[in-house]
Symmetry: C2
């Protein structure tokens, strides 16, 4: 069940929009690269994309704050409602292990799932820009657990979609910050957890300002009027 | 957490469409009923509706097949894919108890959740026709666990909605059999369960034919081409 994260590519891509698609990569290799190498790299890239976009089953994920984990917790800020206790490190546990009892200052659990609002056109646009997690240069991350109000969950599907995208441009705004900011959404509401979603973002230090802007813009949307609890946890490695 | 099922009304309504809405009920009481009684019954009915339609948190539910439970298992039929082992009785466990280890021939778990496809107009239409579970006369029930294909889950939200309702009329067909057939949908996919959904229906013996027709019509829709496993478990009490 670790295939969603996937192995790193056999080559490293700089985090820039131009080189994120297989086509872009094939067009922009420096001269002197043999055709065979290009072919192999293109193949490796295809495997990465396959790992990333083919999610046949929800992946179970636990975020465990405590004394271990590859991420060092820099700060924990309550944006709305109650905060979470301080801790030194954050571990991200994926697959069946995420369901086992874990020790920590706090543990939040969620699962990936199918898209709930995204239409086909948006999915197509996302699929060429989205990046995988754990890129070597993406040494900063944010875990932002969110709980929405009952009023949100009482809305019909068309009403939630209208607020989410037509009014708030949640997908559109997020897309502006791809591929710099890689992200993964985890659903927690049906697991009896204290939050409805665990949003996770990874980015390189040079994109920290862009990430702050992304978060600020989302928080000013109509959708955010339905957020009743939000904690912003910043980590680095 | 048993409030979703709710207490029985202080009065019993016959299972017929005419008398299912508070308006219908108030208009159709036999002569001789005092205004006060009418008022109290209307109030009791409102409380029922409140119990039924206000679901602030997903309710955890376990269906445990074995030697105990109020429901006697009449038959288990594999409609698509693998069946489930035979058992004598079925217990429906709600709330935190549903998460504890349970004994049984098989145990299926799910949670109620927010609507995923229903728009506001449809919700309004449903809300005046839907009935609560465990009505005294609804002594027959069906548990129909369903798993959909990867192709379904890979579709975008607009594509799934188009197949679900515009092509298959899932909501529309279901509505034709309300209030005779009461139902509750449980989501299982994010719990790592063998099925994506546990659909549960309750009806009176005189509506058994109508229920067969409902199930037959749904199985002939475009949506059902995406069903890869379906087991039909009929029970009575």
């Amino acid at each position: 069940m670790t295939w969603v994260r996937g192995p790193p590519s056999t080559f490293e891509l700089p985090i820039s929009e131009e080189t994120q698609t297989p086509q872009g990569m094939l067009n922009k290799r420096p001269p002197g690269v043999t055709n065979l190498t290009t072919l192999l790299e293109g193949f490796a890239r295809s495997i990465d994309l396959l790992y990333q976009y083919s999610m046949p089953l929800p992946l179970q994920v636990a975020f465990a704050a405590g004394s271990s984990g590859i991420w060092r917790i820099e700060r924990i800020t309550a944006v709305a409602g109650e905060s979470l206790p301080p801790a030194e490190r954050l571990a991200v546990i994926e697959g069946p292990e995420a369901q086992r009892p874990l020790e920590g200052s706090w543990i939040l659990r969620g699962t990936t799932s199918n898209e709930r609002y995204t239409n086909r056109e948006e999915l197509k646009a996302l699929s060429v820009k989205q990046e995988m997690l754990l890129r070597p240069r993406a040494t900063r991350a944010a875990l932002i657990p969110i709980r929405k109000t009952e009023a949100w969950w009482d809305l019909a599907q068309d009403e939630r979609r209208a607020i989410f995208e037509e009014q708030s441009r949640h997908i559109g705004i997020g897309m502006e910050y791809l591929p710099a900011v890689a992200r993964r959404l985890h659903h927690s509401r049906e697991l009896g957890e204290p939050f409805d979603f665990l949003t996770w973002f990874e980015y390189a230090p040079e994109h920290a300002d862009a990430f702050e802007e992304l978060v600020r813009r989302l928080r000013s949307t109509a959708e955010w009027r339905y957020v009743e609890r939000e904690v912003d946890i910043r980590v680095s490695r």
